[in-house]
Symmetry: C2
Subunit: 468 residues, 2 copies
């Protein structure tokens, strides 16, 4: 530690509320990195406020000392938004964890930002409702992080992104101003919708401290099926037919290309394979019924018709909850990628649904053309136009060629009218490519807003926004 650093930390300790500052070895290594697979960076200090007032006091103190702040939630982000920057102070919301109120008739839940997603889901479930945003990291990720990245997940097709499941926010600006926008009403057209600006801003405009989430009725029956199809054209035909026949009862439509499904099915220890032979495409479908036990039967009838018409080649319909969990095994095998593939490069592309098939074909041609032993696994939330791509070049071992693969993937995505991040965000990893997804004028408006709310660039500098 330099003398300057020691003096800064001493000044910080004097200026902060007591009991919220950690320095040196007292900063747990969990705070040195998120899930973006970048080298760990110990933050200069760790601040863990216990209240919104302490967040405000901390930002005032940090601003006076000219220190940059990296807000941290559950640290499960994949783009680097919460990854420490050298010389910056990490501000973790982990102590602001709790559910303040549930309104069962208004369908709202007011929570602190550090509350884990799984705790929110459980609290809604306990009163016979649901908070429908769901993603694999549910046990670790927090509502504040979900909001800051506008998290998506598997039920966006029906319930939308996190953005669409929030009614109000409380947040703290870089200068310590606490902004109460904790609206609890579905309709409130009284001026600019400031919460929408904070959602998805990855902590660059303010620190979210509390939120009013929107709850939903909970389905009483869920029917699940895994479909096998000849090709991606059949996948879009299936999507059209299920939307028409099921409307909002269609709650999951997850596509898997053979590159992903067959490879993972071969490499996971499945009790039995879902299908006797390989197919050109796979779709996991879920339909939700409300006081309507017939949803299983309705799904069966629709899928039988689709077999008849040749859109489906085969289908497995879950007869029990256990069956349903089995059908999710391949789709939810993300935690096995490391074991099966080694080090990977992961992508989260948005692309118009009609172009998804062509984009996958191009990716599966051009990546191996450059790296002959590359494995390119494609799957995603097809109903939302969200494609996940996992690339591994076995010969590259621990040093996967991310710059070169990034360049191929993002160039193709742009060619098919897509975006570089559908749900993971920009953070540091995708910042160099943001210009591919946003116009220069849009980037300029973003910078104007950043300057208006954080003129000294205290909040998460170097994240999301490219330099002009």
């Amino acid at each position: 530690m330099t003398q300057d650093t020691a003096a800064t930390l001493a000044a910080l300790a004097a200026a902060l509320p007591t009991g919220i500052l950690s320095t040196g070895a007292a900063i747990g290594e969990a705070h040195w990195h998120d899930w973006s697979d970048q080298d760990p960076v110990p933050p200069l200090a760790l601040v863990r406020p216990r209240s919104t007032a302490e967040v405000s006091a901390a930002l005032v103190a940090l601003g006076r000392l000219g220190l940059a702040v990296v807000p941290q939630g559950g640290l499960t982000g994949l783009a680097g938004g919460a990854h420490p920057s050298a010389g910056a102070v990490a501000l973790s919301l982990e102590r602001m964890n709790g559910i303040a109120a549930i309104d069962e008739i208004g369908l709202t839940m007011t929570v602190e930002a550090g509350t884990p997603l799984a705790a929110v889901q459980a609290a809604a479930d306990a009163v016979g409702l649901q908070y429908p945003v769901d993603l694999g990291a549910r046990g670790s990720c927090t509502i504040g992080g979900n909001l800051s990245t506008n998290a998506g997940g598997v039920r966006v097709i029906r319930y939308g992104m996190t953005r669409e499941n929030v009614l109000g926010l409380e947040f703290v600006l870089a200068d310590g101003t606490i902004v109460d926008a904790l609206n609890t009403m579905i309709k409130n057209n009284a001026g600019y919708d400031l919460k929408q600006l904070l959602i998805g801003a990855e902590g660059t405009l303010g620190i979210i401290t509390r939120a009013v989430l929107r709850l939903q009725p909970k389905p009483t029956t869920v029917a699940t099926a895994l479909c096998a199809l000849p090709d991606f054209d059949a996948v879009t035909a299936l999507l059209k037919q299920l939307r028409r026949s099921l409307g909002p009862a269609l709650t999951v439509f997850e596509g898997m290309w053979p590159s992903f499904h067959d490879f993972m099915a071969d490499n996971l220890a499945l009790a039995r394979k879902p299908f006797a032979r390989q197919h050109g495409a796979y779709v996991l479908v879920e339909a939700s019924g409300f006081g309507d036990a017939s949803i299983q039967e309705r799904l069966e009838i629709v899928l039988a018709d689709l077999i008849e018409s040749g859109i489906l080649e085969d289908v497995v319909i879950a007869a029990s909850e256990r069956d349903a969990r089995d059908l999710w095994t391949v789709r939810e095998s993300v935690s096995e990628y490391g074991r099966v593939l080694g080090r990977i490069l992961g992508y989260d592309l948005g692309v118009p649904i009609h172009a998804m098939g062509a984009l996958v074909a191009a990716l599966e041609t051009e990546i191996p053309a450059r790296f002959p032993d590359a494995r390119t696994l494609c799957y995603g939330h097809v109903g939302d136009g969200n494609l996940h791509v996992v690339v591994n070049v076995p010969s590259a071992g621990l040093h996967q060629p991310h710059d070169e693969v990034d360049a191929i993937v993002f160039a193709l995505t742009g060619r098919f009218g897509g975006t570089i991040s559908a749900e993971h965000g920009i953070g540091t990893l995708k910042k160099p490519y943001l210009h591919l997804a946003r116009s220069p004028e849009a980037l300029d408006v973003m910078r104007r807003i950043k300057r208006a709310l954080d003129p000294a660039t205290i909040l998460n500098p170097g994240k999301l926004l490219p330099d002009p």
Copy 2:
């Protein structure tokens, strides 16, 4: 016309693209006012661009001359957002009317801002889809106005406000910068969601020129019922039960208090009254089925159970489309208010659902306490916590006591945790009361954003944002 004005108009004519400027008597009186019942004001000039490039050129020219701009769509706003200000130039989007593209698999429609809502609905219907935002002014209001006010309507309970039915925007800033944010994807987490800032900003941050709207599958069956209940507690019990039993099939839940329902039913020329006697509350319910003819039967079973349990006192279920239209008659009688009531004061309050009954009771007590002959009619989108209140003081004739009634209504709304505008916006009429609905810090953030995007205050000055 003063010499100064003549010189300004001459300079404007020279600076604008040819064929888009109207002055003096050539400005149709339709552009002198919106539906906010304020005195008509002839704008200094009317500009009607034919393209986004012409909107940009017009804003540059107007900015150089230091002229304020009032953007105008279908002029059906009720809060005064598009009402001309003295000395300002009206900029109408009426010539930018057309549907550019429909993506039937991605469920998007790209339209120009001046396209009427009804044209958008019809174009979606023609391809077997729906654009679910719907409101009484559908034939006159335009998408640009719907976006600028974040219009609501009767199906918000299922499909959300306009904000939730838009994927991308193109807009022009005060300085003429054209911002292309015409995203067509459901998921696109690549930086700040700028469109959300423009939506509901009532033309104070930029002029929306094009939009990508989100379409939805179209229901194949719709069941409609009018329910009679003892009181508002029964209304919330009905809402809870229908949500549980119908989930997203519940697409309308419109409440009417006796003050509204019985008064209008008595004063409209109804072929037959829906119920033999008066009740404490009424709810119009609609359930939508997708490939599921049983929705009518399901609704009937649920409502029969609710009669059994005493939550409902009576119910009429539509047996035909014509029956359904009849059941809507009282709820949709807005065009008759003038004939039945004379001059009215109208309110559009948002309030937590659990407090709606108490707020109505207080309004129906306190307004007549001040104006003994006052009629206070209450109804609204109960499923969204949106209460419409219509007040008429017969003895006041053409000079309704708006300041005094405003004060009573907004004070009570604040006492019950509500907001002064659920769906109509702020405009000029509610600007003096915005401080009741937004915190000083939130208003300050709004002003910072306004300064960042429109530093010379060219766009719709005097609307929405109160002076500091």
